[in-house]
């Protein structure tokens, strides 16, 4: 039986949403402080408008719509879906006011790209963007990557009873600690430790590269946000290619991989067994996919000579971890041979581990799909009455149950369908099939690499399609499906 929502449900949802918007507005204080300290007058007002508008909306919703029902999972899922849309719209306000975007939709695209840790960008003249706006662009990735709802929940939570609903709604399947709020705080703790490590590493490299202390600090902070949260934004239009630093590329590879690893595995490695890294099913799948795709890429780019490692391998890691950093000059990906581009598309499709900041099908599901395929073949080769159980190691020995397989196949096909649907729409606008598929996968899997379709000049409908893909891909569809069902059930009364 599907419960039909009434006014009390919406009142409850809007109340929680109001609290979460208040949480978001607090994050906007960071760029305000930066703009104030750096004497960036115009950006200061951009963020003041963004902050006050968000705070007013947040307070209005909490004051006018009281919690009238016990918060349930459906409420949590609906709040998560709606929340991400509202956050991206509010986050777009200061970006739009910066005058670096052709329209509000472009700014919304940028904001959604940031929150969903995608990295596709429609900004014009990035090299002249203010420090505070750059801070906000990169901060959206950090907030989005860590889980914006959980971020707010762990700060000013009142709905702890359904925190798990919010947690699952934000596409995290595994709890690390028994309590979800504790899990969220652990994720933030891990992130802050890596933040310090990352900033120190990047700062050292950039300072030696010739950046001033101040620029080294800001750039290292932003590059950390973009690499660990697998976002892919960079403060310069050339992305990583701006720095001309092989050391920086290696360092970003390390942090991209760290960001693509399951937070549960981080917990295990920190607190329990270091050997888990060698036994873990997801890590093994990652090793297998990266090696296979590297071989394909090698044969595809063999004509490049030694440049293939710096050009090809970096893009592959960036695609596989869902980061989207690039060290290529503009449009250079277009000149990759079809096979090489296909390897990168596959890497983007797969993504990183579950319970990480990456998007895409995820290694766990891909591994299960393959394992179940081989399991089925083995079953056919066995005596008719033989009982066969397949197991895999993920923190503990787990049985490959029908439920797990069903879930893996479900996500596998939803992602494939969305990749193809986005590509078909782009083809409808006259883009070639290969490029259309590349861009669609990049948006849905929250990667951010581009073959040039994403630009301020692209059709408005396609911008909206990519916004939807980034949103749906980040939330992994389920909370959106539940929300649609929630709305549809209104008409069934």
């Amino acid at each position: 039986m599907i419960i039909s929502p009434d006014r009390r449900d919406f009142s409850t949802i809007l109340n929680i949403l109001g609290s979460l918007i208040l949480g978001l507005s607090l994050f906007m204080l960071i760029p305000i402080i930066v703009a104030f300290v750096k004497g960036e007058q115009a950006p200061f007002f951009d963020f003041l408008i963004g902050f006050t508008f968000s705070a007013i909306l947040g307070m209005f919703l909490t004051l006018v719509f009281p919690i009238k029902k016990e918060v349930s999972w459906v409420h949590a899922f609906f709040t998560v879906s709606l929340g991400w849309l509202v956050f991206s719209l509010l986050g777009a306000i200061p970006l739009y006011l910066s005058a670096h975007f052709s329209s509000f939709v472009d700014a919304w695209f940028e904001s959604m790209s940031g929150f969903s840790t995608t990295g596709l960008t429609l900004i014009r003249d990035l090299d002249h963007l203010s420090i505070s706006h750059n801070m906000w662009r990169h901060l959206t990735m950090f907030i989005g990557g860590q889980g914006i709802i959980l971020a707010s929940l762990s700060i000013l939570t009142r709905a702890r009873s359904v925190a798990l609903g919010f947690y699952v709604g934000e596409a995290r399947q595994e709890k690390i600690l028994p309590n979800v709020i504790a899990t969220s705080r652990f994720i933030w703790k891990v992130s802050f430790v890596y933040l310090i490590l990352g900033v120190v590493t990047f700062f050292t490299i950039l300072y030696n590269q010739g950046l001033t202390i101040e620029r080294s600090f800001f750039h290292s902070l932003w590059l950390f946000f973009a690499s660990f949260d697998t976002g892919g934004f960079a403060p310069q239009a050339q992305n990583i290619a701006y720095y001309h630093s092989f050391h920086l590329e290696i360092a970003t590879i390390v942090f991209m991989i760290l960001g693509a690893i399951n937070f549960n595995l981080h917990f295990w490695l920190w607190n329990k067994s270091k050997k888990e890294i060698f036994k873990n099913f997801e890590i093994r799948t990652f090793f297998f996919t990266i090696c296979s795709l590297s071989v394909i890429l090698y044969f595809s780019l063999i004509k490049m000579g030694p440049a293939m490692f710096r050009k090809g391998f970096y893009q592959l890691i960036s695609a596989h971890t869902g980061c989207g950093f690039t060290n290529l000059a503009g449009g250079e990906l277009n000149h990759f041979p079809a096979l090489g581009l296909l390897a990168i598309i596959f890497a983007m499709m797969i993504g990183g581990c579950v319970c990480s900041t990456t998007g895409g099908i995820k290694l766990m599901r891909l591994g299960i799909v393959f394992k179940s395929f081989f399991m089925e073949i083995k079953r056919w080769m066995m005596p008719f009455r033989a009982v066969y159980r397949n197991r895999f190691h993920h923190l503990q020995s787990l049985v490959l149950s029908d439920k797990r397989m069903k879930e893996a196949y479900l996500f596998f096909f939803i992602f494939l369908f969305t990749y193809l649907a986005g590509a078909i729409i782009a083809m409808g606008f006259g883009y070639p099939a290969k490029e259309a598929l590349f861009e669609s996968v990049s948006a849905t899997a929250n990667v951010g690499l581009s073959v040039g379709i994403t630009s301020p000049a692209m059709p408005l409908v396609l911008k909206l399609v990519y916004i939807f893909q980034m949103w749906a891909g980040r939330l992994e569809f389920i909370s959106i499906f539940v929300s649609v069902g929630f709305i549809l059930s209104l008409f069934r009364k």
Binding site: M59, H128, Q209, G210, L211
Partner: protein, 166 residues
């Protein structure tokens, strides 16, 4: 007379054929990056704004040139070649406009990326400090929203403190 005319035509043709060899291929950066194979190992000439800062390299320095649509790294083997540059593009400054002549490499053997190795740099225009003005409408809107926000915050805090008791 005929011989003179023939020699004149020959010289003219020869000179015409020599021009591309003597002068760098003047193409937009967009063209170069869109059809890199046509420019590999050739001397190219691009015009654009210098961005950011000079970046260190064991064998020289890097500068980044930005045209409206595209950007590329230019490798400079001798820092003296870029002495003339005073303004580097950022939020607070518009960088110097320069004309860069150099050899384009699609897969540079030294750096394993697409770049231009600088031969000469010509300053086309001095950069300047950017001055930004805040539109009065924006200030007014910010003030109004701040005022509403303060009032709302007051109501919110009162409700938070006394709301549950009533």
């Amino acid at each position: 007379m005929r011989v003179k005319l023939k020699s004149f035509i020959f010289c003219l043709l020869f000179t015409t054929l020599l021009i591309p060899l003597v002068y760098a291929q003047s193409a937009s950066l967009g063209d170069i990056l869109a059809h890199p194979d046509n420019f590999i190992g050739k001397e190219v000439q691009i015009e654009g704004e210098v961005i950011g800062e000079p970046l260190n390299d064991p064998a020289g320095v890097w500068i980044n040139i930005s045209t409206k649509e595209q950007q590329i790294g230019v490798f400079v083997d001798n820092e003296r070649k870029i002495e003339e540059i005073t303004y580097w593009g950022s939020y607070s400054t518009t960088g110097d406009q320069v004309r860069v002549k150099g050899i384009f490499y699609k897969e540079c053997l030294d750096h394993q990326i697409s770049d231009i190795h600088l031969k000469s740099l010509e300053l086309l225009g001095k950069g300047y400090k950017n001055e930004y003005t805040v539109s009065p409408g924006k200030v007014k809107l910010a003030k109004i929203l701040s005022l509403i926000c303060l009032v709302m915050a007051l109501i919110y805090l009162i409700r938070l403190k006394y709301g549950k008791r009533t």
